[in-house]
């Protein structure tokens, strides 16, 4: 009851100054709409760019690197300790490219609570046979279902289906560049020659496009078993293990643990792609900076309008106080005007922002890098809309606070005597 009267006075003040109210609210609308649009667009774009690299990259990549031995035999001879030793033409030690005891390692990793998924990979080299010419081929044997689930492989499939690799024996997902060179279409058979000279016949089940011509010309996906067969190896032959974590930030620590505990190389995603993280956080920062600037400008508008209103309403304030409204009541009357402006402007801003975002998300956007993306990416995360409304209320609260406090402190006697 008491609040309803404060509210009804505030409403009357706003309604009798429709134009001022609308201008003030539109200021908020403008700020909020741009916040929603910028956040939606920026985070959508971030997601897209991150997705291009981060989603495709394992959080920890485990492999065996061929490298020269770190210590040469001469180091072990103590009588040369005092001498400077020079060893020329150091060569890498001959060792297997596969990860030793990979299946056991994968089982152990999968059991860790930080780990979301562990996927094996077999890299095989060879050549595509296209008539009389040979095109170099890099075949990657994967468990296609896990790969689709964890690394969004299916986003890059432009013909056929990734899942076919799991069901069709000897299937191959051919890089789009290689496919064009060989003029093959889905269902055709192609021949691949292994490093040992054996020829394999593979059935094209689909095409993939990464957006990088170098990769699309060479790389293809096959099943694990096919890759192992091409390399002439058993089912234990795994060249790479990819680990996806629940929390990506644990990757550096965990990859170091893995390197220490098992004789393998492990690279974390942060080391591999340091530049992307920086890019996204700076874009987010810019969006916030611009939106907050707009809201501050809108806030000053509200501050100004309320100040003017209070100046015009001195007599009303004196009368309200004389008839028994306390300073706090008067403060609430003006503060609620600010908040009503904020709420109306905010809601309108969110609606306008949503529709403009919708418009952007329908705008054609073709990129080679992401064959499945046809329009601009926009993130419609509801959280941003909630934050936008909170922003609108908080900024109008601060804009209304000072003028309202001034109204609260007006001494009615000064006003009435001043007449």
């Amino acid at each position: 009851m008491k609040y309803s009267i404060i509210f009804s006075i505030a409403r009357t003040h706003l309604l009798t100054r429709k134009r001022q109210t609308i201008v003030a609210a539109l200021g908020v609308t403008f700020g909020i709409a741009s916040y929603v649009i910028m956040m939606g667009f920026m985070t959508g774009l971030n997601g897209l760019l991150d997705g291009m690299i981060l989603n495709r990259t394992p959080h920890i990549h485990i492999y065996n690197e061929l490298a020269p031995s770190k210590s040469q035999p001469i180091e072990k001879v103590s009588k040369y300790n005092e001498h400077k030793k020079i060893v020329r033409s150091v060569r890498p030690k001959r060792k297997q490219t596969r990860v030793r005891n990979a299946n056991a390692l994968m089982r152990e990793l999968a059991a860790l609570k930080e780990v979301k998924a562990v996927t094996p990979m077999v890299r095989a080299q060879g050549f595509y046979l296209a008539g009389s010419t040979q095109l170099s081929a890099s075949l990657i044997g994967v468990d296609v279902l896990m790969e689709s689930e964890n690394y969004q492989l299916s986003d890059y499939i432009v013909g056929g289906k990734a899942e076919n690799l799991a069901t069709i024996d000897n299937g191959i997902l051919l890089g789009i560049g290689a496919a064009k060179k060989m003029s093959v279409s889905s269902g055709d058979k192609i021949q691949v020659i292994s490093p040992t000279g054996t020829i394999f016949q593979l059935k094209v089940v689909g095409f993939f496009q990464s957006g990088l011509a170098d990769i699309d010309n060479i790389q293809s996906y096959v099943s694990l078993k096919t890759a192992q067969r091409i390399m002439g190896q058993s089912v234990n032959y795994i060249t790479d293990i990819n680990v996806k974590l629940k929390d990506m930030n644990l990757a550096p620590e965990l990859s170091k643990d893995i390197e220490d505990n098992y004789e393998v190389n492990a690279v974390d995603i942060q080391t591999a792609n340091a530049q992307f993280d920086t890019g996204s956080s700076i874009r987010t920062l810019i969006s916030y900076a611009v939106s907050i600037t707009l809201l501050i400008v809108a806030g000053f508008g509200i501050y100004n309008i309320l100040n003017m209103l209070i100046y015009e309403k001195m007599n009303d304030i004196a009368i309200l106080k004389a008839t028994g409204f306390s300073g706090r009541d008067v403060e609430r009357i003006f503060l609620s005007q600010a908040m009503i402006i904020g709420l109306l402007g905010g809601i309108l801003g969110v609606i306008v922002g949503y529709f403009i975002s919708l418009l952007i998300s329908r705008t054609p956007f073709e990129t080679e890098a992401l064959p499945t993306i046809k329009t601009y990416p926009v993130n419609f995360e509801p959280m941003y809309y909630v934050i936008a409304i909170i922003f609108a209320l908080v900024s109008t609260f601060f804009a209304g606070y000072l003028p309202s406090r001034r109204a609260k402190r007006i001494d009615p006697v000064d006003i009435i005597r001043g007449q």
Partner: protein, 225 residues
């Protein structure tokens, strides 16, 4: 007769621009049902006294009682509530909320008091307006009324919470003689019929002469009550 207002040793200074002792040892009482006027030259402190009595001005020395309760030293919020419930104001300038209707203006203090439903307050407001003969203007915007009508609305507003006392700061000062006569008659009726106390600051000797009692002030002192 019970005392509505009692002032004990009230002193007030204005410190700006220089120390000025505006009220000096003010002592007096107003009983229930009394119609009292305060007269004096401009600057003698009569309005200042009224604002102290009205509880709006709290910067004074001495003690003020309303219905035998000490008012001095209460918090602003308490004082606002006391004003709301016990004191009705009528000013020289009518001081209506110009954007609100006549009815809303009258209802506001009643709604603020928050002991009656909106319907009851509205009913009361119509009754007060009828009492003052302006119920036909209830739905009009306050700014559209003539001066005399506005003053009657202000009186209706002062009556809405059935206060113990009505205070007026030259309520007829801005009205022509016909409307002044009207206002006097209204006050007189309220006093006679409803037993309301009235305390009116005025310059109008004719008006003052017809009240029960006139307090004369000079240079911040009461010279006769």
């Amino acid at each position: 007769m019970s005392k509505i207002i009692e002032a004990k040793n009230i002193n007030k200074h204005f410190y700006k621009p220089v120390d000025f002792h505006v009220l000096k040892d003010i002592n007096f009482t107003i009983d229930q049902g009394e119609f009292v006027s305060i007269m004096g030259k401009s600057g003698c402190g009569k309005s200042t006294l009224l604002y102290i009595l009205s509880t709006m001005d709290t910067d004074y020395e001495g003690e003020l009682f309303l219905n035998d309760q000490l008012i001095t030293g209460r918090s602003q919020n308490e004082l606002a509530q006391i004003r709301n419930e016990n004191i009705g104001f009528v000013f020289q300038f009518h001081y209506l909320l110009s954007e609100f209707s006549v009815l809303q203006n009258v209802m506001l203090p009643g709604l603020k008091r928050n002991i009656k439903s909106r319907e009851e307050v509205e009913h009361d407001a119509y009754e007060k307006l009828r009492l003052l003969g302006i119920e036909s203007e209830a739905k009009k915007r306050a700014s559209r009324l003539s001066g005399g009508q506005k003053q009657r609305v202000a009186i209706a507003r002062a009556l809405i919470n059935d206060p113990a006392i009505i205070m007026g700061d030259e309520p007829t000062g801005n009205l022509d003689s016909k409307n002044s006569e009207n206002v006097y008659n209204i006050f007189n009726d309220l006093c006679q019929e409803k037993g309301l106390s009235l305390l009116i600051v005025t310059h109008d000797e004719e008006f003052a002469a017809r009240t029960h009692r006139t307090i004369h002030m000079e240079d911040g002192r009461i010279i006769s009550t």
